[in-house]
Amino acid sequence: MIEASTLTKRYGVTTAVNELTFTARSGRVTGFLGPNGAGKSTTMRLILGLDTPDSGTVHIDGVPYRRLKDPLRTVGAMLDATWRHPGRSGRAHLRWLAATNGIPDKRVEEVLALVGLTSVGDTRVLQYSLGMQQRLGIAAAMLGDPRVLLFDEPVNGLDPEGMVWIRQLLHSLAADGRTVFVSSHLLPEMAQTAQDLVVIGRGRLIYQGTMDEFVARTNEHGVRVRTPHVAELRAALTGQAEFTEDGGAFVVSGLDSDRIGQLAFDAGATLHELSPISGSLEQAYLDLTREAVEFPAAAMASPVSVASVSPVSSVSPVSSSEVAK
Amino acid sequence: MIEATGLTKRYGKTLAVNNLSFSVAAGQVTGFLGPNGAGKSTTMRMILGLDNPTGGQVTIGGKKYHDLKEPLRTVGALLDAKWVHPNRSARAHLQWMAKSNRIPAARVDEVLETVGLTSVAGKRAGGFSLGMSQRLGIAAALLGDPEVLLFDEPVNGLDPEGILWIRKFMHRLAEEGRTVFVSSHLLSEMALTASNLVVIGRGQLISQSSTEDFVSRAAENTVKVRSPQLAELRDALQRASAEVTGDDKALVVSGMDSDKIGEIAAANRIVLHELSPQTGSLEQAFMQITGDSVEYHTGLDAEAQHVLESAK
């Protein structure tokens, strides 16, 4: 279990993390979401004791990271897959890491096999593809058979097969009762991976709870309806619901599908489709973080026409502080 | 439009691309999928004339890349966002590119504005985050206002807002009649972005079709049905020789489309509470189709092999 309470971290005048309180439970995959610059990496570093908070605490199974004896046996983390010496082999990298925490070499072989890198264990990391570096990072995180695992963008560079593999791995780790804390920008992937969510924006908590509740908050509700008896259905629904046309179908909002089905039946309208539209994590996330994004999405709403190219809407500009790092 | 015919590339003993033929139409976003090591990057590089094919050819609007005069005005590409000198400013990077193809200097500021990098244009590109480098790469691709755009993993490093922006942006480019060819591993993203797919494995074409066809070819299409008269409906459907599974809350019907199920329900005076066609995911389809044959099952093994060979 990871527990952060009123965690605050300032770098100069910018407050990267601001009174952040959240819990990542054991036995669950907790997704950690937020726009770029929201303070996710800082939070990860605070959890691992790499940075010191200005105030507040973060505990791992009740203990601050720096007080853990043999921390790799409690917490495994993969923050950046490229944090290692490129000239060393994957196996050598894991060996020295294992030695720091008195982990036997046998375990090195186990984790290499787990991530499928046994055959290239003696090859220098320099030669690894991004996906293989990612796998090595995961192997390193697994080394101490830890109860708590932190991953930052674990699917980066993995191909679809690798993505399915890591999703299953994370699920099985959580099923073992471990705490799995994963940060990612790939929301459709997170939607399939995480059961709980911690969402931050500008260093502050903006949501903590289950994935299902989060997605249910989206205003992207409605029911998609197709019928050969358009006029009858329209008449039956008028006054009770709003509907918009969507390429040969209607999207009805304001009534649930059970009710629409009954009304259609009463009106004698045959249904060809009656599908409740489920909100996406992406939509829910964008709704929630829109105001919390450092540079508000104003630029997105007002398209910037670019004379000789496409009148494409602009993304929100990058702040110079982002480069300063 | 991009057309590859019999495209082949051999590096030593390895056949990276093997007799690959496909075409990418204008006015659509075409996704380019395949496991790691399938030959996607090699193909992209051959399209851009960076690697010479061992056999076959690839043309853009009927011309080979080498025969394009001022090619950046015809083809814009983002292959790797890190292909920028780290000590050069974003603006200087775009300026030299613009100069090389007689693109007016004012265009540099336009594309910087489009991708939202104006405020950091004078900063060294080496200090950029991956997301910012990605935007710079997109700006570079747009520089010549090209008809054909190639992107390799464009959402890499972008946050959700950036990902959404890219998706809408690609749709816009395609709507303007441009040819947009995007390679990515993020299948859930590609399902939302691409209307056509070129799928390769081990350097060979596995499939070229619309995204819809690709998904429906692999995943079995079913319809989820809920009704207060579930038992009656089940009987009615089974009489019409549909295959019905499911529990006491909902039926899962296969072998019959939702229109037909709706008609049967109406004819039998059955109230429906839900009638949702279930489509498979692109990921399922991709795994099934590329994983079907061991021959195409490249992924990690092929990569490992490649690494071991190059380490020798």
């Binding site: - | 590089r45 960076l50 010479n52 083809v75 292959l79 890190k82 000198h85 200087a92 990077h93």
Partner: protein, 251 residues
């Protein structure tokens, strides 16, 4: 012309060329100052002595600059963007060689005249000045020699692609190999007579034995004019080979 502008933007939008240029100037002019300051007042120094730093070390640094101009493109993969923009490749690479050579020319002239000027300031009684054709060649010729050396380095950079490798090869060749060749019995001296930097030296200093403070004279048999042409010819041959290789190679 466009491609020259392209390469100009590229060259001057990063910092290393500026540093290399500064180091070249510092070495050339600095050595002139050291020699002018260290020689006893009763032993006049000559023009060749003021050019010692430039002809010995300035060239080396300029070649590093030139090699880096190419190898960093490979290192950071901007070469691919370049070839994407100019798929025929050779014009882009020639433009690079020209721009780098022009930069080297300018650096060479500033360095050479700066060194001479400083020498004249520090040793007003030595009669330093551009009195003879040889004096002129020795000073004003530094620019062309820098430029041609830069072209050689660009060609080597294209062939080798790795910064460390290209620079090591250039420096080892320049600083050691030409001299060591003389140790080969019988033919060593004959070969040495035709090695490019030795020939370039001939152009700069002729065969006249200098005042003792300058670098050793060249034993190349060519006249100064032909020496320059020979040196340039070698650079061009190298560049053509490099262009041919770059054109065929996968980027």
């Amino acid at each position: 012309m466009n491609l020259l502008a392209v390469e100009r933007i590229k060259l001057f939008s990063t910092r290393s060329p500026w540093w290399c240029a500064l180091i070249t100037l510092a070495l050339t002019i600095g050595f002139a100052a050291i020699i002018a300051g260290a020689s006893p007042a009763d032993q006049p120094i000559n023009v060749s002595a003021t050019q010692f730093g430039g002809s010995q070390f300035g060239i080396a640094v300029v070649m590093v600059l030139a090699a880096l101009a190419v190898t960093t493109e490979y290192r950071f993969n901007t070469i691919r963007t370049t070839f994407q923009a100019v798929p025929h490749r050779s014009p882009a690479l020639v433009a690079k060689a020209v721009v780098v050579a022009l930069a080297a020319l300018v650096i060479g002239e500033i360095a050479a005249f700066g060194a001479l000027g400083l020498g004249m300031l520090m040793r007003p009684n030595d009669g330093l000045g551009l009195h003879t054709t040889q004096d002129w060649l020795n000073v004003a010729g530094m620019g062309p020699v820098f430029a041609i050396s830069a072209v050689l380095a660009v060609a080597l950079g294209i062939l080798i692609r790795h910064s460390a490798g290209a620079i090591a090869l250039l420096l080892i060749y320049y600083l050691a190999v030409e001299e060591l060749v003389q140790l080969i019995p019988k033919i060593g001296h004959t070969i040495h007579e035709w090695l490019p930097f030795n020939v370039a030296n001939k152009f700069l200093r002729g065969s006249a034995v200098g005042g003792g403070d300058g670098p050793p004279p060249s034993d190349a048999p060519l006249s100064p004019g032909w020496a320059l042409a020979y040196f340039a010819g070698i650079a061009i041959v190298f560049l053509l080979v490099a262009l041919g290789v770059a054109k065929k190679r996968d980027a």
